[in-house]
Amino acid sequence: MKIKRKAEKKLEKNLISVRANTVLLIILGLLALVCVLPMILVVIVSFSSEQSIFENGYSFFPSEFSLAAYEYFLKLGDQIFRSYGISLFVTVFGSLFSLTVTAMFAYVLSRPDYRYGRLFTLLLLFTMLFNGGLVPGYMVNTQLLGLRDSVWALIFPMSLNAFYVVVLRTFFKSIPLEIIEAARIDGAGEFRTFAKVVLPLSKPGLATIGLFTVIAYWNDWFLGMLYMFETKNYPIQTLLQSMQNSMEALSQSSSNALEYAEMAKNAPTDSGRMALTVMVVLPVMLAYPFFQKYFVKGLTVGGVKG
């Protein structure tokens, strides 16, 4: 204890000078502004009136605030709610499914006494080195597996990430085999051992991989763009993307076509896009401060490979 305090005292002298510290703080502060201001701009634009945008452009200081964009979505947002629902389902179900499958596979590969471990590891590693790529995958999924316009197309193609299997396998390997043996001697089957002994010991690893998976599913627009031909099946990110050029997508499944035509004339197009952008990132950014500490922990534990 005494020695440690002494060491701390010594390192105190090793701090950078106050002046250097101030300069660095200013530089970092400026970088942080560059990082954050574009996001704030989008939020402000989403609350600006169309008239204000017409006059001042996308501005940090609009002449008039307005909730028109959000009201518009509430009134005519059938498609938005639908897409939100699709994304929610895909994220929740997809993550649970993906994490379960990945963890089980990683656990099996981590067991030195499993007879086919080497074979399956090779099969897995090969997929990291060589893959057919976009075209063969797309053709097989749409023509042979019937994933066209199916919600499963948003879940299955990205449910097994070989890299995550490798990371989790390393995590499971650090659990002493004796513990697993002990559970077995106590009469627990493989599934029980896995669920009651192995998983609780691997919470940090599972949390990190789980977070990555949740974010990946929520943020995915690519699978939606590839496999969804009808707008009504778009997840929220793909719907947002389709609005780059027009808000037309919203009309597709609006229950009241007449009302839509009426509203479309004075739709808050500019602020509307930004409002949807805000609604799409909001869940992630709200959760972000809470999950980032797990994320950092897992990252630094995992290092390059884990």
């Binding site: 790529g133 976009l134 075209v135 999924n141 050029n245 630094t300 290092g303």
Partner: protein, 313 residues
């Protein structure tokens, strides 16, 4: 489990494949869902590679369409596009690798040296936020800055630049946004490594009267060297794969920008979904897969020589 299979009893000779299969069955069942996914979504698609050597038409399907040898490749490499997409993919990735390395290491060192640890945490959190946004979202953020009529940049500077058709600007725009989005993530990785360096080194250096610069130069940087080399080599192994979202979403699929924004991944996608030229798309795809394979294996081999534990295999 081990002891049972090792004792040489009379029954041991009867321990056939079937015996082992049954003994390992519970674990095999656990692995089964992943194996099925792997077969369906990784191995089955490999059969689709033959499309690169076919003249695809919908009626005859993947396997029924007529063969046309290397025609698709001939067409592909006769176009100017083959050269442009290869050049763009490699040059952009190269720029990303170099800049990411420089900025991430610098930022990590700065954050580590800050006198206020709490402030360092806050900055780290802010820098990493963009990493969790999709490219679609980022494309709208960029649009709020770059739009011709309403964009913040044009309005603030009184310009009327049509950013979405200015070829010369896009190499910079793409690089800025790529760094903007990913730098926080890389910084945290390096910061983790710096925090792991033992204080003893710095104490010893301090006693010898080393300045802060000397400590960074002779302790911190050498300690990070291994990680820098390995991450860089791994990135070089993936230099033939571009981040599709960056190159497709950020320029909003703008035609006039293709010469500076088209990369292999976007080319393949457009050939497949927008032009319906399946054969050509498959050919470009296979070109990427093969060169990518060689690069990944080579880079992994190089990593293995430096640090066995960091290699994939």
């Amino acid at each position: 489990m081990k002891t049972g299979s090792k004792t040489p009893t009379a029954g041991a000779r009867k321990k056939t494949r079937w015996f082992y299969f049954r003994k390992n069955l519970p674990l095999t069942v656990m692995a089964l869902p992943a194996l099925i996914l792997m077969v369906l979504f990784k191995y089955l698609p490999l059969s689709g590679i033959i499309l690169a050597f076919k003249r695809y038409n919908i009626r005859d399907g993947i396997f029924g369409s007529a063969w046309n040898g290397f025609k698709n490749f001939e067409y592909l490499f006769r176009t100017k596009d083959a050269w442009i997409i290869t050049r763009n993919t490699i040059l952009y990735n190269f720029a990303f690798i170099v800049l990411d390395l420089i900025f991430a290491v610098t930022l990590a060192i700065i954050l580590n040296e800050l006198r206020q640890k709490r402030a360092a945490k806050v900055f780290q959190t802010i820098f990493m936020a963009p990493y969790f946004m999709s490219w679609v979202v980022v494309s709208f953020i960029a649009y709020s800055l770059l739009s011709v009529d309403d964009g913040f940049i044009n309005r603030a500077l009184g310009l009327e630049v049509t950013w979405y058709s200015q070829q010369a600007a896009w190499p910079f725009i793409l690089i800025i946004f790529q760094i903007w989005k990913t730098i926080g993530y890389s910084t945290v990785m390096y910061l983790g490594a710096i925090v792991g360096i033992s204080d003893d080194y710095y104490e010893a250096a301090l006693m010898d009267g080393a300045t802060k610069w000397q400590q960074i130069r002779y302790i911190t940087l050498p300690a990070l060297r291994g990680m820098m080399i390995i991450l860089t080599i791994l990135a070089i192994g993936r230099i033939f794969y571009a981040d599709f979202g960056l190159f497709y979403q950020l320029p909003r699929n703008s035609g006039p920008l293709f010469p500076v924004t088209n990369v292999i991944d976007t080319y393949v996608f457009r050939a497949l979904k927008e032009n319906g030229n399946i054969g050509m798309a498959a050919a470009a795809n296979l070109y990427q897969s093969l060169v990518g394979f060689i690069l990944v294996v080579t880079s992994n081999f190089a990593v293995r020589k430096i640090d066995k534990d960091s290699a994939l295999f």
